[in-house]
């Protein structure tokens, strides 16, 4: 009995020693040298492996950073400028300054603003639906609403709002990795400057149709009237293909365009409510419709501001048509 036990233990030990020795030599023999800095840089990166930088995972970016001569074009959108600065310091280079950005959904075509004209009955994928036809509504540019952006977001920063049928971005969680931008087949999502205190002004529409057509399809679409372009004191807005676009790096957040926009296509986010003298206190929807002016809406902007139709809107779109 004892003998058996001793033999067993000894055999096992001997096997272990042999295996260890073999492993040791194999590891020596087949060792691949890698720049140790890659490991260090990788540790500095957030480790989300989101692919937002365009490389397969954080290690991919780390090795590219170590191999490259400059930091140009290499940036971790998740870690932001802080991370890149510390990596640049470690590698003895100068970091590119980059403003923090955030993903912005440029469509306000909720179920109320943009009535449905047909029912889609296929797999729940924006890519499939948009390759099939113009979409469930009269607007062939707007959000399809099947959440391809939500599916690709690795940070849980996007979710569908069941009431509006549109995706919403959580500014805090969004790392501006740009995956949703690539996933959106309608190219609605854009990375914009995050802005001080996350305050932003942007045109929440990408419809390139003529004003009257846009108008018919959606209450809050950009009709390409160009009023905002004329109003902007900083030349931050340009009008192309019947749709206005605000350059987030030129915009100084004066919000004059928001007041001017006849359809309410320009959204402002995270601003404090406007002082009463400017446009009157924020009123409930019904009252605003009665007032019949393009009353600006205070934050948060996900609230639906196009529910009311105003007279001047109609005039405006007619003018554009002419």
């Amino acid at each position: 009995m004892n003998e058996t036990l001793i033999f067993t233990v000894l055999t096992l030990c001997a096997l272990g020693v042999v295996a260890a020795v073999a492993l040791f030599f194999v590891a020596k023999k087949f060792h691949v040298w890698e720049d140790p800095r890659i490991d260090d840089v990788e540790k500095m990166l957030p480790g989300a492996n989101c692919g937002g930088c365009g490389f397969p995972g954080c290690r991919g970016l780390a090795s590219a950073l170590v191999k490259a001569d400059t930091m140009e074009g290499l940036a971790c959108p998740v870690g932001g400028s802080q991370t890149m600065k510390s990596i640049a310091e470690y590698l003895g280079r100068v970091a590119e300054e980059k403003e923090p950005e955030v993903a912005v959904v440029r469509c306000s075509g909720s179920c109320q603003n943009r009535p449905k004209t047909n029912t889609y009955d296929g797999v729940s994928s924006c890519a499939v639906a948009s390759s099939l036809y113009a979409g469930e509504t009269g607007c062939s540019f707007g959000c399809v609403g099947f959440g391809d952006c939500v599916k690709v977001c690795a940070f849980g920063a996007l979710k569908m709002n069941p009431e509006t049928g549109l995706p919403e971005v959580d500014d805090e969680k969004c790392t501006a990795c740009g995956k949703c931008v690539k996933a959106c087949p309608k190219m609605i999502i854009e990375l914009r400057k995050k802005g001080p205190k996350s305050r932003r002004v942007f045109v929440s529409c990408v419809n390139k149709d003529k004003g009257a057509i846009t108008r018919k399809a959606c209450k809050v679409g950009c009709i390409g009237c160009g009023k905002c372009v004329k109003t902007c004191p900083f030349e931050a807005i340009k009008l192309e293909n019947n749709v206005a676009y605000i350059d987030s790096y030129k915009c100084r957040l004066c919000r004059k365009c928001v007041v001017e926009c006849p359809t309410g296509a320009i959204n402002e986010v995270n601003f404090p409510p406007r002082p009463p003298k400017e446009a009157g206190p924020a009123k409930p929807m019904a009252e605003k419709a009665a007032v019949a002016t393009a009353a600006p809406v205070s934050a948060p902007v996900t609230e639906n501001k196009g529910a009311e139709q105003t007279e001047n809107v109609k005039k405006e779109s007619e003018k554009v048509e002419k």
Binding site: N118, T119, Y120, L132, E136
Partner: protein, 328 residues
């Protein structure tokens, strides 16, 4: 327009096949064999089948309802089929508690633990059967002969042959006691559903006509069994049983037609089916001839189930245009 038209990608029509209809067809195909076993084993057959089906359905319901919190999947009939097949693989004398344990293992371990229908790597009914065979060898191998008067000495033909070979007897002395007609009709000892070869074959024809399965797997399994056993038999007919005996005895036909063809656990391509079928056939004969158990098709199928992902990875269908056209 008030009414909204539906828009969906093509195609706009469907064959009408459903998981449910396919499972139902397999159950229907099993009915002739079930009738034969009722004829031979009487009320025992009904009891075993009823307990197995009810226990399987209950296990599936409880797991989907309380553990996975998913919608009820009883009506796809897959659990019922698993229970029915498990019953076919049990001796008619199996005690009720054993059947229940087998059903719980089949559904719980064999199927639901992998994520439910479509994800299980092993045939659930066979997982249940093999679990019982290993845990309760006594009860699982005590068969009674359906028509013998004493009603208890019902060793299966395969067990008789195995015993004989072990004792050094020549098979030419043992073989004459088996009548191929009896084996075809089901007048022999064995599991509840495996005895009646002809009834199982009627079901096979039904499945082919309804296009539920293709001929590939059953033919490959039985064919490779026949060829391999024929080679052995030609070498030494006194130590190895002949091919016809192998095909008609034990669970060969039940396994080849109903168990090996299980959708989830069989290969996707015809090339893969060939490999899979040959694997099952050869392993079955190996186990029957040299293994510890008299019957080996359950093990053979489970072993080949494990190889299916690998087979799927390396066998692809012949693509259109991959054959270079010969110039006329």
């Amino acid at each position: 327009m008030d009414k909204k038209l539906i828009v969906s990608p093509s195609p706009h029509i469907h064959s009408g096949n459903s998981t449910q209809s396919l499972m139902r067809d397999v159950i229907i195909a099993l009915i002739p064999a079930f009738i034969v076993s009722i004829v031979f084993f009487g009320f025992d057959a009904v009891t075993v089948a009823a307990i197995a089906v009810v226990a399987s359905l209950a296990t599936e319901y409880l797991i989907t309802r309380f553990m996975l919190k998913r919608p009820n999947t009883l009506w796809d009939y897959s659990a019922a089929l698993t229970g029915f097949l498990l019953a076919f693989n049990l001796p008619p004398s199996a005690p009720w508690w054993m059947i229940v344990i087998g059903s719980i293992v089949a559904i719980g371990v064999g199927k639901m633990s992998f994520g439910g229908l479509g994800r299980n790597p092993f045939n659930p009914a066979l997982v249940g059967r093999v679990f019982l065979l290993i845990s309760f060898p006594e009860q699982m191998t005590s068969f009674y002969h359906p028509t013998a008067l004493d009603g208890t000495s019902g060793a299966t033909p395969l067990a008789v042959v195995k015993e004989a070979v072990k004792n050094g007897q020549s098979l030419s002395e043992v073989m004459p006691q088996f009548s191929y007609t009896d084996m075809l009709l089901g007048n022999m000892g064995g599991s509840m559903g495996e005895i009646a070869a002809f009834a199982l074959l009627i079901g096979f024809v039904y499945l082919l006509v309804r296009k539920v399965i293709t001929w590939h797997i059953p033919v490959y399994v039985l064919g490779s069994m026949a060829i391999f056993s024929a080679i052995l038999w030609l070498i030494d007919p006194n130590s190895f049983a002949n091919p016809l005996f192998h095909l008609l005895s034990g669970g060969a036909i039940l396994g080849a037609v109903y168990m090996a063809t299980d959708y989830v656990t069989s290969p996707m391509t015809t090339k893969g089916m060939l490999l899979y079928g040959i694997g099952i056939g050869v392993i079955t004969i190996l186990i029957r001839t040299w293994g510890a158990y008299p019957e080996g098709i359950s093990f053979a199928i489970l072993i080949m189930n494990a190889a299916v992902p690998l087979i799927n990875k390396y066998t692809h269908p012949k693509r259109f245009g991959s054959v270079v056209a010969k110039k006329a």
